[in-house]
């Protein structure tokens, strides 16, 4: 591990320094009808300091460790007139109670306090977006991928346990049609060691899932949508630590902290994570057999024995926050590495792997700059960049055959044997290494002309220089291996408007994509004197394309909002599709066109309806995706069967259409119920023939319940009970067969119903939270892919510790 612990130690050290001349300011905000003000925005500031918070359910707010001095306190609520108060802090503790004057609702009998969370604001802008909150999940034994999978319209398909490969699908579109970002930076930049398998939910503020239509500020060639992981940006000093232990020897630890010197704004921020799992869960099924003399097979229930996963990493940043010239200015680095054993290929076959593993690491420098109201009010600037290198290695050098019982396999004669191909996966031994230099920067400037008009300009660059080598291959082969460089520039211009007392909101955007791919293939050139030299043959391909779209919402009544959005989206061909791949005998097709899709969403949001203590929100989204120029490989025929030459081509169109719906119900703030259902149809057209796409789960349902007890066992403690279920309708790996055929079951991926139970207990001091989870309580076999079994029942225990007072 190349990460030393110094940033963290520094953090601990800093946390022990205390400043005696500090004040804690507590306050209470009520409307002039004595109702508490929820979610009012409260700032305290003077020349050197600015802090912000929001009021809680009872109208309360609190600022910790404010140095003595004179300050302006400003309070904003959408339902009342803003208020500015001058406060002088000269004692260790100060309390303030203030009243806001209601604006619109004075003459109503009943006053409803409408508090729109950040989540609600994002979800009613007009985009088909789901915002996933991670606050509660971060305290539980949850993976980020599990959170995503429970979201309407999102389907995660995982090829095993913790750390195994994952595919993401949004409304039926999957693979490279879906782009995933961390704070707007493509996750591919970070590589496998820092991905959704390794980032714990507690590092994440929230996850935005944009379906089909992606706002300009997240522009990329995302044909089917984008998932953006938003990391915490808070500036309050804190320290969180958690450790989780559970089935399959799974240990996950995570620490993050931030310390801010209130006087100077100097901020130190860091986080560390470590994941480990043996993934030795039990599997059985038609290919889980032990082979004896003559090849006789005996079915067994086996424990996976070559599936260990380990990932470690962290991030450290220093800089200034909430200072005059920057809300956030942080530079730092990000380091991670992982190790993943591979138990089998795409399917579980009778020949499990032993000794095949993948490794990756990444070391990246990062930069964040954010400033609201730069130079002039309404001008916001946002810059986020990473630069560094990452490496990936595949190791498969064991020729010995192993059996599902974990021991050497015997051949038909009874002798231990080795595979003809000399490795676990057919194709021969490999020590392949891919080195990449990566860079990505996303910048955004927005200007709010007035309350109703806003213009945003965004630019994102990402570049990858890739170099392959294999220590098991000769110098000659490694010399003549090509390198591929990849540069992508995307510009987006967005205009946002709100009108009719904010009932109408619209965002119009245009995106300009430019992608340059370069292949450098060494070749031998003979000059006039017959001397041979190795020269680089450099070929470049430049693709440009324009896309555009809009998102709009209209609140017909405060309880009914209609949302509509559309985008002409594209996916630019990747380097393999443009230049081919020597290893797979794919040749270049520089004239290949991008995949295109016209994406449409129409959504309705009802609520939130409140009656007595009940609260109900129902929302739904109807969508279609009309894809054309899909990129694929042509079929094998008698002309190309011997050719070393195949090339990617644009081969047809496709359509995905369906519906997502979700329901949220709350009672008395201690019971919540969420339910969602997604259903879609997906078909493609090749050579004029339309077929239903097989091997796709077309219908999923998720539900969860939470019940919260206050003051159980101890005063001021809180116990949460959770139950959730995840249902996936059965589907077939093969295309739909005829009405009366026999043998369809062979290809069936059975219906899945996994039910989880969890509880968490927050001790009265709120610093310690303990949680316990049982996954897949009824130990049902679950499969995301044909015959690849996922873990059965599992138990996890987790301790979280957090300090917010230094």
């Amino acid at each position: 591990m190349f990460l030393n612990k110094s940033p963290f130690l520094l953090l601990l050290l800093l946390s022990s320094i205390t400043f005696s001349q500090n004040c804690t300011l507590e306050g209470l905000v009520t409307f002039n009808n004595n109702e508490p003000v929820l979610g009012a925005y409260v700032t305290i500031q003077n020349k050197t300091l600015k802090k912000e918070t929001a009021t809680g359910i009872d109208g309360e707010f609190k600022f910790n460790t404010i140095p003595f001095g004179e300050y302006h306190l400003e309070i904003y609520s959408i339902d009342a007139k803003p208020k500015k108060i001058k406060v002088v802090l000269d004692a260790n503790k100060k309390t303030i109670h203030t009243t806001l004057t209601l604006t619109d609702y004075q003459d109503l009998d009943e006053v409803q306090v409408i508090r729109k969370s950040n989540k609600t604001i994002k979800e009613t802008q007009g985009f088909a977006v789901s915002v996933i909150k991670t606050k509660e999940a971060g305290l539980r034994n949850m993976q980020t991928n599990e959170l995503l999978n429970a979201t309407a319209g999102v389907k995660i398909r995982q090829n095993g346990g913790l750390g195994s490969s994952v595919s993401y699908s949004l409304n039926g579109l999957s693979g490279s049609a879906i782009r995933i970002f961390i704070d707007g930076i493509p996750i591919s930049v970070y590589g496998n060691s820092y991905n959704l398998n390794s980032i714990p939910p507690s590092m994440i503020k929230d996850i935005e899932v944009y379906k089909g239509v992606v706002p300009g500020h997240l522009a990329d060639d995302a044909l089917g949508g984008a998932i953006n992981i938003v990391l915490h940006k808070g500036t309050r000093s804190h320290l969180n630590a958690s450790v989780s232990y559970g089935s399959f020897n799974t240990v996950q630890t995570h620490i993050n902290g931030l310390y801010r010197f209130d006087k100077s704004g100097f901020t130190v921020k860091g986080s560390l994570f470590n994941n480990y799992s043996d993934n030795d869960y039990k599997v059985s099924g038609r290919s889980i057999v032990v082979t004896g003399l003559g090849g006789v097979q005996t079915p067994i229930t086996a424990r996976r024995f070559n599936d260990t996963y380990r990932s470690t990493g962290g991030m450290a940043q220093i800089g200034y926050t909430n200072v005059k010239w920057a809300d956030q200015f942080l530079i730092g680095f990000n380091a991670s590495e992982d190790y993943k054993e591979v138990q089998h290929g795409a399917f579980m076959t009778i020949t499990p792997y032993k000794g095949r593993f993948l490794e990756s690491d990444a070391l990246l420098a990062n930069l964040t700059y954010q400033k609201k109201d730069l130079f002039t009010e309404g001008l916001d600037v946002n810059i986020n960049g990473v630069y560094g290198k990452r490496n990936r290695a595949v190791n498969d050098t064991v020729a010995a055959a192993y059996s599902w019982n974990g021991e050497r396999a015997i051949d038909f004669r009874g002798d231990e044997y080795e595979y003809t191909w000399g490795s676990q996966q057919e194709g021969g031994p490999t020590l392949a290494k891919i080195k990449r230099h990566v860079a990505s920067i996303r910048t955004g400037v927005s200007y709010e002309i007035n309350e109703h008009h806003k213009v945003l300009v965004n630019y994102v660059y990402s570049g990858i220089d890739r170099e392959d080598s294999d220590a098991l291959q000769s110098y000659l082969e490694n010399t003549f291996k090509g390198t591929r460089n990849f540069d992508k520039n995307i510009y987006a211009l967005t205009y946002e408007i709100s009108a009719f007392e904010n009932k109408f909101k619209a965002s119009l955007f245009g995106k300009h994509y430019q992608q340059k791919t370069t292949s450098i293939d060494p070749a031998i050139e003979t000059d006039s004197e017959g001397n041979s030299t190795v020269v680089d043959e450099i070929v470049s391909s430049n693709n440009t394309f324009n896309g555009y779209g809009f998102a709009t919402s209209y609140a017909i009544t405060p309880k009914l909002t209609v949302l509509a959005s559309a985008e002409k989206a594209i996916r630019l061909p990747n380097e393999t599709e443009v230049f081919g791949n020597d290893g797979d005998n794919v040749v270049a097709n520089p004239s290949i066109k991008p995949e295109q899709s016209n994406n449409y969403n129409l959504g309705f949001r009802f609520g939130k309806f409140n009656f007595n203590k009940h609260g109900l929100t129902v929302s739904t989204n109807l969508f279609t995706r009309n894809i054309k120029d899909r990129i694929g490989l042509p079929i094998e025929n008698s002309f190309n069967i011997d050719d070393e030459l195949i090339l990617y081509v644009n081969q047809g169109s496709g359509t995905s259409k369906g519906i997502d719906a979700q329901l949220n119900y709350t009672y008395n703030r201690n019971f919540t119920l969420n339910f969602n259902v997604s259903k879609f149809e997906l078909n493609i057209v090749n050579s004029g023939i339309e077929i239903d796409v097989p091997n796709t789960p077309f219908m999923t349902m998720n539900g969860n319940l939470r019940y919260s007890f206050k003051n159980l066992i101890q005063q001021k403690s809180r116990l949460n009970l959770f139950y959730s279920f995840h249902f996936t309708e059965d589907f077939s790996y093969s295309p739909k067969q005829g009405s009366n055929t026999v043998g369809d079951d062979f290809f069936k991926v059975p219906e899945q119903l996994a039910q989880d139970f969890g509880l968490s207990y927050a001790f009265p001091n709120k610093q310690l939270v303990v949680s316990f989870d049982i996954k897949n309580i009824f130990d049902k076999p679950v499969y995301d892919n044909l015959s690849v079994q996922k873990p059965g029942r599992a138990f996890y225990f987790k301790l979280n510790y957090s300090i917010h007072k230094f």
């Binding site: 003559g294 006789v296 003809t420 097989p694 055929t741 015959s787």
Partner: protein, 455 residues
């Protein structure tokens, strides 16, 4: 030839008892005659195989469906066979590689790719969609991988053989083991694996691996065996011939060459049943590959093995390997000449015991159909070295025969399926002796799909 017309009875008994099996195999000596056994009725099951479209018309990746009818029904044009609606789906992720017993009572399948790739299963044919699995599960994946190239040997349906080749480029360190910058390419080493499978008892018979070199000169130029397939037993039953494809790298860079001189067709010869002592024989008549595709590519007839080649710059040949296990280079049967076309390419073929064969081919003049080049059927005489297009089987631009796998031979009759991609077709029965063509049962097709033969 060990074609055994008593196998209806034999196989029925085989399924019950190994003891009876050994007793019956001695009847093999009766094989090789063209007279049908008088005790036997002339009916058998004709199993039709249909390949459903996966993602592209004619790709056949959407499932392999089989459906059986009697010979009477197969010959009856008023009968409709709707395999896509009523068939049995052979368990295989990609198009199943099917074989049938000579009496038609058993279907042998080795699953191709996916989680069960390499699994051997056999089914007793019960007519219609009724295929009853018999025997125990066994897999050849440990020996030849999950996408095995296999066929049955014509030894009374006792044995199947599958092959694999692994290649690795070899380099010379130029006398300086520590300095790899001056290393140079010497040759590409091809290691073949051959497994034989007891079809009756569902057990592995034998497995051997060999490094099979080419000549020093060929190796220095970068030629190597890149694919092998179609093991065929010679008449004496003591040698196994394996068809092969050559590829080539540029020795200067060790990168694949795409435009190179096609060498004389080659076959790897192994001792049988030991699978030892590999030899390579080379034809001077034909050039190009002998590994075929999905249909059996070489057959024993009258003491010799007749082998088709593909990708021959002069058009496909049928080559002859004599009882001395060498190519008979005096036998020159070129399909371009015989058919009067350019660029003939043999897609699949099958001789009857009279030395006359039905052959599926395409040529440079084939129209480009929805899935690829149009295919045709020809009637071939191995002795006379003649080939005549069978006009009794209708032409259709979308008749795509690249994936064609199976022919049923009954006496002099050969049963073929003719169904253009996405269009209905028929079974056709070709009397190889007279050349008469009988239109048989209708084959009901669905969009993008086709039929890949009879078993």
């Amino acid at each position: 030839m060990k074609r055994n017309f008593l196998n209806i009875q034999t196989l029925g008994l085989l399924a019950i008892s190994i003891g009876l099996f050994t007793a019956c195999t001695s009847d093999d000596d009766n094989g090789g005659t063209t007279d049908p056994n008088p005790e036997q009725t002339n009916s058998r099951w004709i199993t039709v195989a249909a390949a459903k479209m996966g993602t592209n018309p004619g790709d056949g990746n959407g499932g392999t469906l089989i459906y059986s009818v009697s010979t009477e029904d197969a010959k009856d044009p008023t009968i409709s066979i709707n395999a896509f609606d009523n068939g049995f789906i052979a368990p295989s992720n990609r198009t199943a590689r099917l074989q049938s017993s000579e009496d038609g009572n058993t279907i042998f399948n080795i699953s191709y790719a996916g989680d069960t790739g390499g699994n051997y299963t056999k089914y007793t044919v019960g007519g219609g969609q009724n295929f009853t699995q018999t025997g125990s599960a066994i897999s050849i994946a440990p020996y030849v991988g999950t996408a095995p190239r296999w066929i049955k040997l014509f030894d009374g349906d006792n044995t199947g053989a599958a092959v694999y080749v692994d290649t690795e480029h070899q380099f010379d360190d130029n006398g300086t083991p520590d300095d790899e910058t001056d290393d140079f390419y010497t040759h590409t080493e091809a290691t073949i694996g051959v497994v034989t499978l007891d079809l009756v008892n569902s057990a592995i018979n034998n497995f051997e691996e060999h490094v099979v070199p080419l000549s020093a000169e060929e190796e220095a130029q970068g030629y190597y065996f890149s694919r092998i397939d179609m093991p065929t037993l010679n008449a004496a039953g003591d040698k196994l011939y394996i068809g092969a494809r050559l590829s080539k790298v540029d020795p200067a860079t060790a990168e694949s060459d795409s435009d190179f001189e096609i060498l004389g067709s080659k076959t790897i010869v192994l001792d049988y049943p030991s699978l030892l002592n590999p030899q390579v024989i080379t034809s001077t008549v034909g050039h190009g590959n002998t590994n075929g595709y999905r249909s059996i590519n070489s057959f024993e007839y009258n003491g010799s093995v007749y082998q088709a080649n593909q990708s021959d710059p002069e058009g496909s040949h049928i080559l002859k390997i004599d009882a001395n296990n060498q190519y008979d280079d005096t036998y020159d049967f070129n399909l371009d000449d015989a058919l009067g076309v350019e660029g003939a390419y043999i897609l699949a073929w099958r001789p009857a015991a009279n030395g006359k064969a039905v052959l599926a081919y395409r040529h440079n003049g084939s129209a480009e159909g929805v899935a690829g080049a149009q295919g045709f059927f020809a009637l071939v005489d191995l002795n006379a070295k003649t080939a005549v297009k069978i006009n009794g089987i209708p032409d259709n631009t979308d008749l795509y025969l690249f994936q064609y796998q199976g022919f049923v031979v009954q006496d002099n009759d050969i049963y073929v399926t003719q169904a253009p991609v996405g269009q209905n077709g028929n079974i056709y029965v070709v009397d190889t002796e007279t050349g008469n063509v009988t239109k048989g049962a209708e084959l009901v097709n669905i969009t993008g799909s086709h039929f890949i033969g009879t078993f």
